[in-house]
Amino acid sequence: MNGFLAIARKEFEDGLRNRWVLTSILLLGGLALVVASVGTAPVGTVAGTTLATTVASLASLSVYLVPLIALMLSHDAIVGEYERGTLLLLLAYPVTRAQIQFGKFAGHLAILALALTLGYGAAGAVLALTTETSTEDFVSLARLVLTSVLLGAVFLSLGYAVSAFVRERASGIGAAFGIWLVVVVLYDLALIGILVADTNGVVDAGLLSALMLVNPADSFRIANLAALDSSYVGLGTTAMANASAAWIATGALAAWVIVSAAVAFGLFRRYEL
C-alpha cells in the first residue's frame, strides 16, 4: 500500500509542479464557461443558454478533449521512466508493477477529476446563479463530470498500454495520437460510412447501438446525451435516446475502464528492462 500511495502522491505532485493540474483546470473551465456563454451553438442549434444545453454542448466537446488530456498525461508513464532510466530504480524498491501502474493511474485520475470538477463545476455555478436551473440539470452535470472521469480513466489506461508496448517515447506519442484519432474521430466516420452504404438495412438500430457501445467515446456520448432532450443531441446518438440507455452506456464505459487497465497491466507485466 505504501508504494501505491507514494506513487499516486508523486504523480499528483508532479502534476501540480509541472502545471498539468492548472492547465487542465483552466482549459476545461475556460471551455465550459465559453460554452455556457454561447448556448447550444457548438452542437449546431440555436437555443437559450441553460445548464441543460451547456451539458449537451460540453458532452460533445469533452469527447474530444478529455481523451486527449488523458493520453497526454499517460502516454509516457512507463516508456518515459524506462527511457530516462528511473524505472529500473523504481522497480528495485519494494513496489509491485501493479502498484506502479495503479498508483500512476490514481494520481493522474485525481488530476483529471479535479480539473473536470472545478472546470465544469465553475460553469455550472455561473449558470445556476444566472439562469433557472432544475435538479435534473444538476444531475446531468454530475453525470457529465462522472462519465468524463470514466472516459478519462479509459484513455489513461489506453495511454499506459501504449506506454508499456513501445520502447521509445516518440513512438508512444505517435501511437497515443493514433488511438485518439481512430477511437474518437475515425470510428464515427466509419459508422456513418457504413450507414450510408447500407442501402439494404442490414445495420438495424440494435446493431448500431452495439457498435456504438463498443467504442468508449460513443458510450460517453450516449451516457450523456441519451437522457437529454433530443433537440440538444448531436450526431449519431438518437439510436439509443432514452434514460436506460444512459445507464447501459455508463456501464459500458466502466467495463472499458476495467478492460483497458487489464490490457495495460498485461503489457506492463511483460515489460523487459
Partner: protein, 319 residues
C-alpha cells in the same frame, strides 16, 4: 546520522546471502550470461569485475528480480527474486544503478522522501542520509541543478534508505571527485564493519581491491574466476616481480646466482629483474640475504588485481 545498532537485516542468518546456480540469460540471439554459478555469504563484500557488456548489470537485475534467468536459478536472502514474495525482501536491499537518474524537477530532499515512502521510511531519516552524503545545503534545489557527483551522492543516499542489509553498487564512484570518492569508501567501510553484504561493480580495480574481500571476474557473460585475491593469484599462476638495484659491477654475478631457479627478465649494469612464483618467493628472499653486499635496494611487486584482471581477460582470447 546512521546508527550502528545491531538489528535483524536482510540476508542475515542465511547460509548463502546470494547464490547463482548455473544461470544463463539471453536477449534474443545474444547470450549475456552463460552458466554462472557462485555463492556469496551474508556479510561478504564482493567485487564484480569485467569489461563493458560482460554481464555485470544483468547480474544486478537478476538479483533484484527485474529480469528472470532463462536457465538456472538465483536466490537472494533465501528467496527467489522473481517471486511475488520477494517484494518484502527488497525492503532490505539498497541499489545504486550505474548512471543513476532522478526526476530533475524535484528537489533532492523530495526525491529521497519519495523513495523513503516506498520503503516506509520517514522524511527525517532521509534527511539524515542527505546530511551523511553532504548534500544538506543543496537539498532544496531541483536535482537538475546538481552536478554529476552530487547526483551520484544522492544516489548513494537513496541506496542507504532503510539501513539495508544487502547493498548493490553498480559503478558507484563514476563521476565522483577524489574527496567524494574518499567519503564513499569511508561509508562503504562503515557498512562493511556492520556486516552488510555488498556487491560492487567497478572499473577502478585498485579501489575494488582495497575494499572487497572476493572478486568475480566476468567476460562475455562467463564467470572466468571467483575468489579472494590469493585464490585468483593461485588460479592465474602469475609471478611476483622482484626488482634489484645492484652495486656497480655485480649485476652479472647476482644474475648468475639466480639463473636456473627463477626467470630473469632484465639485466643491466645497475639492475636485475626477477620473476618467480609464490612457491619460490621465500627461496629468493633467503638468497637475497646472502647477497647483501651486492644489493643496494629490493622492490617486490606481487600481482595486483589489475594484473589478475588482465590475465583473465587475455585468457581464452580469440576463442
Amino acid at each position: 546520522m546512521m546508527t550502528s545498532t545491531p538489528r535483524s537485516r536482510c540476508g542475515e542468518g542465511a547460509t548463502s546471502a546470494i547464490s547463482f546456480a548455473n544461470v544463463s540469460k539471453h536477449y534474443g540471439s545474444s547470450t549475456v550470461l552463460r552458466d554462472v554459478s557462485m555463492a556469496i555469504s551474508a556479510g561478504e563484500c564482493v567485487g564484480l569485475l569485467g569489461p563493458n557488456g560482460a554481464g555485470k548489470t544483468t547480474m544486478f537485475k537478476l538479483m533484484l528480480g527485474l529480469i528472470t534467468p532463462d536457465e538456472g536459478s538465483v536466490t537472494v536472502a533465501g528467496a527467489t527474486p522473481s517471486a511475488a514474495a520477494f517484494c518484502k525482501v527488497k525492503t532490505g536491499i539498497g541499489y545504486l544503478p550505474e548512471n543513476v537518474v532522478f526526476d530533475g524537477g524535484i528537489s533532492g530532499r523530495a526525491m529521497l522522501g519519495f523513495y523513503g515512502r516506498l520503503k516506509g521510511v520517514r522524511q527525517n531519516a532521509c534527511d539524515d542520509l542527505i546530511e551523511l552524503v553532504g548534500l544538506t545545503a543543496a537539498a532544496s534545489r531541483p536535482v537538475r541543478t546538481y552536478s554529476k557527483g552530487m547526483r551520484q551522492r544522492l544516489g548513494l543516499a537513496q541506496a542507504l534508505i532503510g539501513d539495508p542489509g544487502v547493498l548493490f553498487f553498480d559503478e558507484p564512484t563514476t563521476g565522483l571527485d577524489p574527496t567524494s570518492r574518499r567519503q564513499f569508501f569511508s561509508l562503504l567501510k562503515e557498512q562493511r564493519s556492520r556486516g552488510t553484504t555488498i556487491i560492487m561493480s567497478s572499473h577502478a580495480l585498485a579501489e575494488v581491491e582495497a575494499q572487497m574481500k572476493r572478486f568475480a571476474i566476468l567476460k562475455h557473460g562467463r564467470l572466468r574466476a571467483f575468489g579472494t585475491l590469493d585464490d585468483l593469484k593461485k588460479l592465474a599462476g602469475l609471478e611476483t616481480r622482484i626488482r634489484l638495484t645492484v652495486s656497480p659491477g655485480s649485476a652479472n654475478r647476482v644474475a648468475d646466482h639466480f639463473d636456473g631457479h627463477v626467470r630473469l627478465s632484465y639485466v643491466n649494469e645497475k639492475s636485475v629483474h626477477l620473476s618467480c612464483l609464490d612457491s619460490t618467493k621465500m627461496f629468493v628472499m633467503r638468497e637475497l640475504a646472502t647477497l647483501e653486499e651486492q644489493i643496494e635496494d629490493v622492490e617486490v611487486c606481487a600481482p595486483q588485481l589489475d594484473d589478475l584482471f588482465a590475465h583473465f581477460m587475455a585468457q581464452g582470447e580469440g576463442a
